[in-house]
Symmetry: C2
Subunit: 133 residues, 2 copies
Amino acid sequence: MDISEVVRRSGLPASTLRFYEQKGLIASVGRRGLHRVFAAGVLEQLSLIALGRAAGFSLDEIAAMFGADGRPRIERQQLLEKADELDQSIKQLTAMRDGLRHAAACPAPSHMECPTFRRLMGLAGAGAFSERR
Amino acid sequence: MDISEVVRRSGLPASTLRFYEQKGLIASVGRRGLHRVFAAGVLEQLSLIALGRAAGFSLDEIAAMFGADGRPRIERQQLLEKADELDQSIKQLTAMRDGLRHAAACPAPSHMECPTFRRLMGLAGAGAFSERR
DNA sequence: TTGCTACTTAAAGTCGACTTGAGGTCAAGG
DNA sequence: CCTTGACCTCAAGTCGACTTTAAGTAGCAA
């Protein structure tokens, strides 16, 4: 496959593919002239990268999950840790969502008079939501 | 209050306070010599900013929520829209968390042989989790 | 009055994940 | 054979939210 086919089948721009290759996340199997040639497996690798990104791993972390052979070797421990992080995020986002919905429905003239809103503000001010995103 | 007291009571570094002032998010009530003097209300404003950030609003969006007087005027509509966005995120994160937990527990020798994991990969590769974070 | 130190400014730097631009090469179709 | 346009490289730019640095000023204790 040449790069244009990978672009077509992955939906990613060519610049991203070159960037990923430079970072060591994917590899081309060789060149035809100057042009990169990719193996079909690169599409699966790209899906895995997308999954890792969506789960919140950095590109460097994802790079570390590929062995020298290009096959993934993912520690189950790492998945569990990330799942726990996601649990934290989900809890916070849920509290935030409920707070926002309450404030939107709250009859107080200004949000500043709504105790629910103020409680959420207090939490945020105290850093209860820091270290996320 | 001088800046050091705001630092102490808000937990934010002075550089952030100056940056927020420059962005128009907060305002000092004047100067004592060169030194900024802040009104007590700035602490509440900072909490509100922290809340906005935690909910996923950008600093520019938050700035737009303050009237010229410094009092917040927040559209209920905007809160509902953000709540809906959060719902989306929560759904995706939940799916991701469950998928990771499954993969961690899955007896398949490699994650690549786990159908649940592969399904999640497929979704990610197809962009099902794009436009988040 | 001196001197310490906390404050001030403006500009530049950081971080992650890419994108963009300038300038160059070459495989393939006519 | 020649043109075309898809591909190449390397460096620099972008975005958001700050932080850092360098150089300067002034409030307050002694």
